[in-house]
């Protein structure tokens, strides 16, 4: 973890403590998660208590304090997706990947997460991987999707 990266991001916001949320988002974007050392550096640079940084970093589901896989799979468990069978879709992910929610596969490829509604209810059950939305998911489509990401990673 290069702290210069953190410094660069903090400088972009003139080290304003009101920009804390945006700063954390940018770090997460670059590092794929929020490393402890980065959070400590943010607190130091913004001259705010570390508790305030940690409190925010652990509040938002979009932030992760653990390293995440290359493909972060967000299974929507919002009401609409739930009634359309998102539970089964999540089960399929857990079975196929052999990990639980919030965990990352040993090969560092996949992280499994859940979200509550991504605003695409008509397409449910929805799975969001990175920027890609996968619609009307079922067990077969889960397997096919994971296979294609594996292939993508192998190339």
């Amino acid at each position: 973890m290069e702290l210069e990266m953190v410094d660069r991001i903090v400088d972009r916001y003139d080290a304003r403590s009101s920009a804390l949320l945006a700063i954390l988002q940018d770090i997460q974007q670059e590092a794929n998660y929020l490393p402890q050392a980065a959070l400590r550096q943010v607190a130091r640079r913004l001259d705010i208590p570390l508790t305030r940084v940690v409190r925010m970093a652990t509040f938002y589901a979009a932030f992760s304090l653990k390293p995440r896989g290359r493909f972060v799979c967000n299974v929507c468990l919002g009401t609409a997706c739930h009634v359309r069978g998102a539970g089964r879709v999540l089960d399929q992910f857990q079975r196929t990947l052999g990990i639980g929610v919030g965990e990352t596969t040993d090969d560092g490829l996949f992280t499994l997460q859940t979200v509550n509604c991504v605003g695409a209810c008509a397409l449910g059950p929805v799975v969001v991987v990175g920027e890609q939305y996968h619609r009307e998911m079922n067990n077969r489509k889960v397997d096919r999707m994971l296979k294609s990401y594996r292939k993508q990673a192998g190339e």
């Binding site: 959070l39 208590p49 570390l50 508790t51 940084v53 940690v54 409190r55 652990t58 589901a61």
Partner: protein, 254 residues
Amino acid sequence: MLTFTIDGQTVQAEEGQNLLEVALAHGFDIPTLCYHPSVSAYGACRLCLVEVTQRGRSRITTSCNYPALPGISVVTRNDRIDRLRRLVMELILCRDPGNPQLQAMADRLGVDRTRLRFASRQDGCILCGLCERICRESIGADAISFVGRGHERRLATPFDEPSESCVGCLACAMVCPTQVIEFTQDADTRTIWKRTFTLVKCKECGAVLGTPEELALFQRKTGLDASYFDTCDACRKKQTATAFAAVTWGGQRP
């Protein structure tokens, strides 16, 4: 100064005071778990409910974070308030039905059991955040905070590691309404939030004064001379008395 009524009695308050502190100052009995006069109100426990009537409209609200306003009338107890407080108490109690402090409050409100179950954990913490506010607002250490959200929300030091900014003053443990913040202390050390502090003792009698970190912090904040923190209250009094006796009675006590 502004005037309003509580349970029919006319009371006066300063601008900016909240209903709860005015009511308590006038001897009214309102149950609270998350309130402490020296820190900001947070409105977490919802037990301090009262009914406020303003311009003919009435509503039930928490009194700890509701401002005293001229001309309002406040009711601290009626059937509706009692019922709501009991419901709230059931919700709080399900966090840890075995906690003695929660049981005592439940007893006081006439709640003998909770119909709910909070499955995630039963550690007695009701997430009132009083420890966090005392640590930040009164002590100024900022060692602990809420982390996580939803049913995983809890109070902790950053990354659950011994906190660098904790001074070991125990204020958090003292104000905790359910008394669940653990600490240990023996003759020479004190441990809280996984950090162990050595204890400073009174130069005269050896009584425990506190941790070096907390004494340094209090010295910095009060601006008192460092030597003030060498002795305990009792020995300091004795020293002062002796010093005065020396000039008043020529060193002889009458």
